[in-house]
């Protein structure tokens, strides 16, 4: 292990000689070697795998849990608390993250060290997925594959949009509950869950606040959701579907009477990655059936 690292550094110095003289490091002429990538966002990591560029992936953040192989990559920590030296020790040529990544000082230090930074703006729309695919394509030097993937995903997306638009029934009022830790939270506006509900032909029953709030019995009763949406991880954390329905906050909702519950994997539901068309399609079907 140590020997290969050493060898790699020697190779890097030889290869990078020209660029180093110019003061930039370790910018290498594209094409001499496939760029080494670090991804800071589960969805961006998924794009790397979708492009078949996983051999170039040398590190990911703690939210990169899909596909299974991504869990075994070197972990660089939480996206808001990156370590400059830790990242550089993986000797990446490019770091691909969302604009949420930080702290800013560390990002500056990475740029100073000559690492290409691709920061993707997150706005919970289809454009976000397209930008992630394009950013990974650029950073991985696989732009033609990225264009092909983007075209395929655009096709899938058009299908899903048609599927949702064809449904002219009443939009179900949906409550999204997130309970990965102790106290359940419900989502207001400007959240990934809110955007997903809109895309999948549902309606967030909570409005008037942004982000997540703790779930309270009275507010849930007045929001009157027809369906509850949650993540499979929340159900696991609460100890099963039975336990979930025992939450006192849910007892006075119309959804409780019908036991109308939809669950989806958190990364699939909230990730806004290349699986978005599939996630929206599935969510639409489940909301119809619930």
């Amino acid at each position: 292990m140590m020997r290969t690292m050493q060898g790699r550094r020697e190779a890097l110095r030889l290869l990078g000689g020209g660029a180093l003289a110019a003061g930039a490091w370790p910018v290498l002429a594209q094409g001499t070697r496939a760029p080494r990538l670090v991804t800071i966002s589960g969805a961006i990591t998924e794009v790397v795998y979708a492009l078949g560029a996983e051999s170039q992936l040398v590190g990911t953040d703690t939210t990169s849990l899909y596909p299974e192989a991504a869990r075994r990559t070197a972990k660089v920590g939480y996206m808001r608390q990156l370590s400059a030296e830790g990242l550089l020790s993986l000797k990446p040529d490019a770091v691909i993250a969302t604009t949420e990544a930080g702290p800013p000082v560390v990002l500056d230090q990475l740029r100073t060290a000559g690492v290409v930074l691709e920061l993707v703006q997150a706005d919970h729309g289809w454009g976000e997925v397209q930008r992630k695919v394009a950013a990974v394509g650029r950073a991985a030097a696989r732009e033609s594959q990225a264009r092909a993937l983007a075209a395929r995903l655009d096709g899938e997306w058009a299908q899903v949009k048609k599927q949702v638009a064809a449904d002219t029934g009443r939009k179900p009022r949906v409550l999204f509950v997130l309970s990965h830790s102790a106290s359940p939270q419900v989502s207001g506006e400007k959240t990934a869950a809110h955007a997903m509900l809109g895309l999948a032909g549902g309606m967030n029953c909570l409005a008037g606040f942004q982000g997540y709030r703790p779930m309270t019995a009275e507010a849930m009763a007045s929001a009157a959701p027809d369906v509850i949406l949650t993540t499979t991880q929340s159900i696991e954390a609460l100890g099963g579907i039975e336990k979930f329905w025992q939450r006192p906050e849910l007892a006075l909702t119309p959804a409780f009477k019908r036991r109308a519950l939809v669950t989806q994997d958190a990364l699939l539901l909230l990730g806004f990655g290349p699986r978005l068309p599939f996630a929206v399609g599935e969510l639409h079907k489940s909301l119809r059936a619930a």
């Binding site: 808001r80 370590s83 000082v105």
Partner: protein
């Protein structure tokens, strides 16, 4: 009480307590400080030599050679060391020295072994201001991030800490003098208020903001960049110099404020200076690193156990030991889970407490 003689100021300059015969088992001033410097030097060497990015000893020598000649060496090792690791080491020394000395000043001023710089509201004020900036910054002060850039959080935290300290100082003034008991209570009350404010902010915060706030509260030297490091370094240096001049008056105050006054110490002036020095040093450190707990509390006790209570030893000694503690903790923070980094505030306690408890057991007869 009545037996305390009125001494001239001249005798005070040599310390309120004259150096008596050395206490058995206690280190002298010179050997304590020499030991402190030796510890600091070795933790600097270990810190410089370890990190996520592998830099061998010979490469390190090369880096220092290039630094010495003033010529920039474009090797990756040079860039990582000079831009990332070295500013962290300097910030670690400054932060530890500032926190350690401030802890001694507060314990001396309050004549209370439980006092630490947090008591006069610097940390909680800085934390509250940092919380406001992280959570409400976007709509409360939309113009600030553009004008101040990455300095927004730092300057807000420094300002917050300083303002809260002034408030607590103001609350403890009574009939022209500063009442330490009043200050203690005002400090506890204002700290509780700031804690409630942080709690409220954490309800308003999004997940990302909450995580940012949480990490800020655990402290990190990860934000070290030369501009900030040099600023903090200069502030802490000035604070250290100013703090060291308070050693003799603090020795007098250790006998009681009335006695100190009789000994010719202007107690009010000492209080003002000690609080000002602490506010500047801890404020600057906390604003750049977040909250690094425990160093300010533990470093003075440690030195006192080894070298006795004379502030002329404890002040510089706790600065040295504080720097050693922060450097050691940060070295572990950088390497233990690389490429991920651990929060520093967690490690200062994880490393400091067991060592301190061993120390307490070893010297338990002396307490």
């Amino acid at each position: 009480m009545s037996a305390v003689p009125v001494r001239s100021r001249a005798s005070l300059d040599h310390g309120a307590k004259r150096e008596g015969p050395p206490v058995k088992g206690r280190l002298t001033m010179r050997s304590t400080l020499a030991g402190g410097f030796a510890l600091l030097l070795s933790s600097l060497v270990v810190g410089a030599g370890s990190g996520a990015y592998a830099i061998s000893a010979s490469q390190l020598v090369g880096v220092f050679g290039a630094l010495w000649q003033g010529g920039a060496d474009p090797s990756p090792e040079y860039l990582v060391f000079v831009n990332i690791r070295l500013p962290r080491l300097v910030l670690g020394v400054a932060a530890g020295a500032g926190l350690g000395m401030a802890g001694t000043l507060m314990q001396g001023l309050f004549r209370n072994p439980l006092a630490d710089p947090g008591l006069i509201g610097i940390s909680s004020g800085a934390a509250l201001a940092a919380g406001v900036t992280i959570v409400l910054g976007a709509w409360l002060l939309p113009a600030l991030p553009r004008t101040l850039g990455s300095w927004t959080l730092v300057s807000m935290a420094f300002g917050g800490g300083f303002l809260v300290t002034l408030l607590i100082y103001g609350l403890s003034r009574s009939e022209g003098s500063t009442r330490m008991a009043l200050m203690l209570l005002a400090g506890i009350a204002i700290n509780a208020l700031a804690g409630a404010g942080l709690g409220f902010l954490s309800v308003m915060a999004t997940d990302e903001q909450l995580r940012s706030l949480q990490f800020w509260l655990l402290g990190s030297l990860g934000g070290a960049r030369w501009s900030a490091v040099l600023l903090v370094g200069v502030i802490v240096c000035i604070a250290l110099c100013a703090g060291l001049t308070l050693a003799a008056p603090l020795n007098a105050i250790a006998l009681g404020e009335a006695q100190a006054t009789l000994l010719g110490v202007d107690v009010e002036r000492v209080k003002r200076r000690a609080i000002l020095v602490t506010a500047f040093a801890v404020g600057a450190v906390t604003a750049t690193t977040g909250i690094i707990g425990f160093v300010g509390l533990i470093a003075p006790h440690w030195v006192r156990l080894v070298a006795g209570p004379d502030h002329r030893v404890v002040l510089p000694g706790s600065a040295l030991l504080g720097a050693v503690l922060v450097l050691a903790a940060d070295t572990v923070a950088r390497t233990a889970m690389a490429p991920t980094e651990l929060p520093l505030g967690v490690l200062t306690a994880f490393i400091g407490v067991p060592m301190f408890l061993l120390m307490l057991r070893h010297f338990r007869g002396r307490l």
